[in-house]
């Protein structure tokens, strides 16, 4: 049977605020346990929440960026369940009236096609603490530093039809929240977490199959693997005559399998009701307009501008706008050298492979955008050839200085003096007299192939420094007479 995969994502993005969503505690990652857990975070009797303005602003930014309806009156509700990392015995979240309503994002798939994915809603809530399972005489330790950190939970429509689409969506949201500066996107530290709702159905069937929720997957690679593993499990289960049970499952990357989680609250009766300690949040239209006017250029707008302003291909524009850091780097290179195409080629080519090899992000690149731009200038003014430039780039990556310093120090300046090149060519032709004979006896088609041999010999003789265009032109004159 042909199966169709249906995937929806719930993404928890920690908002980059200085203080927690309902208290004045710091949100710094990695502090000593419980040193950032204040009276409110510990749910001391008699304490009360007061909402952080920045969390509201960040959520509105996100809503505008996905073209969503903003919840002009939104309400906090309590989600009641007992767990040691949840000090109040309820999580303050939003239920009926979230701050961000229906919106959408466009994702670009590997083949360049663009697909629109619906965002059902995004709501503000507080994060829980952490249970540490190191053995304290059979006890777990609870650290509540994270409790109360603001989260934006972004819920997608079940619009994805493959693991790759799910990853593309997750990457798009990841890029977006980083562009907006509302989340640092650090998946290893849990600042950006994905839960995937996965189901399968026979192709052509309209109703959804029973879904399983895969919890807290902490890298894009694992999203793809976890979904594929889970899809495989569900298909095999159904084909063997079984049925999928709606449940929460945990992906184990070491075994590449998903397994059922013992449910936190077996009945899952969260008894949501409006939090009586908080009042409805009313957002003024003028506030929305102010936030809108402060929005940075977003990935999609950037992509379109890179195409129209720089004449880049859709693919190049989309790669270069994937992250704000990448786009900023590219634009700096472009500004320095004044050549968008060369800048794009170098950023996507040599620079990207260097970063991949060293497994670092572009903002930690050993070659600065100004350095790369400076080097491209030397290509453009014929000081060096493209080939020599690769050597210069490598040297810059090794910290040997700017392009000009390296060219000077290593004597890589291109030879453009016609007399010197002619003298060198004469030597090369004299040393290869037989081949010259052969060339002159050949027809046009054959000559074309042989010409490359002479160019190679000439470049070798000049140790790569002769200007290739001049070499070509002068060789042609000398051979063809």
């Amino acid at each position: 049977m042909q199966w169709e995969i249906v995937i929806g994502l719930e993404i928890h993005a920690q908002l980059t605020t200085a203080s927690k969503i309902f208290s004045g505690s710091a949100t710094t990652f990695g502090a000593e346990p419980n040193t950032q857990a204040s009276l409110v975070d510990l749910a001391m009797p008699g304490t009360l929440p007061v909402l952080n303005a920045q969390a509201v602003k960040n959520a509105v930014k996100f809503g505008l960026a996905i073209d969503a309806e903003i919840g002009m009156t939104n309400v906090f509700a309590r989600k009641n369940y007992f767990y040691p990392d949840l000090p109040k015995g309820y999580q303050i979240s939003q239920m009926d009236l979230p701050i961000v309503g229906k919106g959408h994002v466009d994702i670009t798939l590997d083949d360049g096609t663009v697909k629109r994915v619906g965002v059902t809603r995004a709501h503000l809530e507080e994060d829980a603490g952490k249970s540490l399972h190191e053995d304290f005489q059979g006890m777990s330790g609870i650290d509540l530093n994270r409790a109360g950190t603001p989260l934006l939970e972004i819920v997608s429509e079940p619009d994805m039809r493959s693991a790759k689409e799910a990853v593309a969506y997750a990457r798009t949201i990841h890029s977006l929240v980083r562009y907006l500066g509302i989340c640092d996107g650090n998946m290893a530290e849990g600042s950006f977490r994905c839960d995937c709702n996965v189901s399968v159905r026979p192709k052509g069937q309209t109703e959804f199959g029973t879904r399983c929720e895969l919890k807290n997957i902490n890298s894009f690679r694992f999203i793809e693997r976890a979904i594929n593993t889970e899809v495989q499990r569900q298909i095999e289960l159904i084909e063997d005559g079984g049925t999928v049970v709606q449940e929460t499952r945990l992906y184990d990357p070491n075994k590449d399998e998903t397994r059922s989680m013992r449910s936190k609250e077996e009945a899952n009766d969260y008894r949501y009701f409006p939090d009586p300690d908080l009042l409805p949040v009313v957002i003024e239209p003028s506030f929305v307009e102010q936030v809108r006017s402060e929005l940075p250029e977003l990935p999609q707008q950037k992509r379109e501008r890179f195409q129209s302003e720089f004449g880049l291909s859709a693919y190049d524009a989309s790669v270069l706008s994937a992250s704000r850091e990448m786009a900023d780097y590219f634009e700096q290179v472009q500004r320095t050298c004044g050549d968008a195409k060369l800048a794009a080629n170098w950023v996507m080519g040599e620079l990207s492979s260097l970063l991949n090899k060293s497994d670092i992000e572009i903002d930690q690149s050993p070659v600065s955008a100004e350095q790369l731009g400076g080097m491209i200038l030397r290509i453009k003014d014929n000081t060096i050839s493209g080939k020599i430039a690769k050597m210069v780039f490598e040297a810059m990556a090794n910290g040997e200085g700017d392009a000009d310093q390296i060219i000077e120090a290593r004597g890589l300046k291109q030879v453009t003096d016609t007399g010197a090149i002619e003298a060198m060519l004469d030597e090369v032709l004299a040393a290869n007299a037989a081949q010259v004979e052969q060339y002159r006896a050949s027809d046009e088609a054959k000559r074309g192939k042989m010409f490359g041999f002479f160019v190679g010999q000439a470049m070798k003789a000049s140790r790569g420094k002769a200007n290739p265009q001049q070499v070509n032109q002068l060789l042609k004159q000398k051979l063809d007479g």
């Binding site: 399972h133 330790g141 009586p276």
Partner: protein, 95 residues
């Protein structure tokens, strides 16, 4: 609405309240009579009435995003039942 033994057990479990077997009938009895009192409000037609969550119907004030709390761990853990290395201890949490 009369509550039976299983209702009481379910509610007590949801609320994480342990009950002695022998107490359950008395709880069922008293909770049923309370629910009987409460059910008097079912007779009223409230269609079209907006629920009222807060008497004054004002709106939420926002706090500036400023860190105002410093580390009070030692003082706050002095009243905790069980701590070690700055952590609150609970019987092992099984995921």
């Amino acid at each position: 609405m009369a509550l039976d033994r299983s209702d009481v057990e379910h509610l007590a479990h949801l609320a994480r309240i342990g009950l002695k077997e022998a107490e359950i009938p008395a709880y069922a009895d008293k909770l049923s009579s309370i629910m009987g009192l409460i059910d008097r409000m079912q007779a009223v037609d409230t269609s079209g009435v907006q629920p009222l969550a807060h008497p004054l119907e004002t709106t939420q004030r926002l706090r500036a995003d400023v860190v105002t709390e410093d580390n009070q761990r030692d003082a706050l853990q002095a009243i905790a039942p069980a701590t070690e290395q700055g952590l609150y201890l609970v019987p092992r949490v099984i995921e």
